[in-house]
């Protein structure tokens, strides 16, 4: 399986990257943008997808500060 893992900063945790981008967009004339958050995208081929949650918990994300979501990606 080709998996796509989205890692996001947990809600309520200050996300200065998102804030910086949120401030930069209006400066370029893109008004009306709010709640920008920046995370990480990981794509991988995996033989046993049932092990993905454990991979996410132990390495791919830090569960204290990040949430993750696993999707099947098109090959």
């Amino acid at each position: 399986m080709r998996a796509r893992i989205l890692v996001r900063p947990k809600e309520g945790i200050l996300d200065p990257q998102g804030q910086a981008v949120e401030r930069a967009l209006p400066a370029l004339g893109f008004e009306g943008v709010a709640n920008v958050h920046i995370g990480r995208l990981i794509e991988l081929d995996v033989e046993d997808p049932s092990r993905l949650p454990e991979m996410c918990e132990r390495l791919l994300s830090n569960p204290l500060i990040e949430s993750y979501e696993i999707e099947e990606a098109a090959k």
Binding site: L59, L60, L64
Partner: protein, 226 residues
């Protein structure tokens, strides 16, 4: 006292830490691939960019073979001190609570900061008095200490917040101005500022030596290893 300083690929403060520790005892480098801690009485996990800090700072270094031995050493009561990247590694390894996030400014900060000693009932700041100020440099981009509020309350209640940035000195947006925390057993300690860079009057402060002297006074081989 014999201190072991871990060297990962990407460590850059290992030599400074070794030289600083050598002022209070013997100090050796421990290669990340080796499981043998060489009978040291205390371990320093130094600053730098272990394994390139890929994914998250410290996330991959925590799986290094040497870290298995460090975890065992810590669970037997051995003193483990993580500085900067070493603090990040110990948090990722769950030997310390919390996590280190990007500085609020998103900038690399490199300056002398004033720290306030919160507690001295641990082997790392026993030479200091509560309320005492220490002048020690910081140099990092990922130093904003974070833990959820309920966990922070518990940490404070149990006396695990050891050092704070003095008012007006918080360089990274750390919650509750926390600069250094220890584990519940008080034998593992992490600190973002660099005491190993504050051991010689030539560089402006010798306050970092106090922490090393404190470690030297309390370090011993864990019972299981002796």
């Amino acid at each position: 006292m014999k201190v072991g300083v871990i060297r990962f690929p990407g460590s850059c403060d290992d030599i400074d830490a070794q030289q600083a520790a050598a002022r209070v005892g013997e100090a050796v480098l421990l290669w990340h691939r080796e499981r043998d801690l060489q009978g040291v009485d205390a371990v320093i996990v130094p600053g730098g960019f272990s394994y390139g800090d890929y994914l998250r700072a410290g996330a991959i270094a925590r799986f290094a073979p040497v870290m298995e031995s460090v975890a065992e050493f810590a669970s037997d009561g051995g003193l483990v001190f993580g500085i900067c990247n070493g603090f990040q590694v110990l948090c990722e390894a769950h030997l310390l609570p919390g996590a280190l996030l990007a500085n609020t400014s998103l900038r690399f900060v490199f300056r002398q900061v004033e720290l306030e000693v919160v507690r001295n009932d641990n082997p790392f700041t026993a030479t200091c008095e509560p309320g005492e100020r220490l002048s020690i440099p910081v140099k990092h981009t990922t130093g904003r200490f974070y833990a959820p509020d309920d966990q922070l309350d518990a940490l404070e209640q149990r006396g695990q917040v050891v050092l704070r940035y003095a008012p007006g000195n918080n360089p990274n947006g750390s919650v509750r101005d926390i600069a250094g925390v220890c584990n519940e057993a008080r034998n593992v300690f992490g600190l973002m500022p660099h005491p190993e860079h504050a051991v010689d009057a030539l560089t402006g402060s010798t306050d970092g030596l106090k922490l090393l002297q404190s470690i030297a006074a309390h370090a011993r081989q864990p019972a299981a290893a002796a």
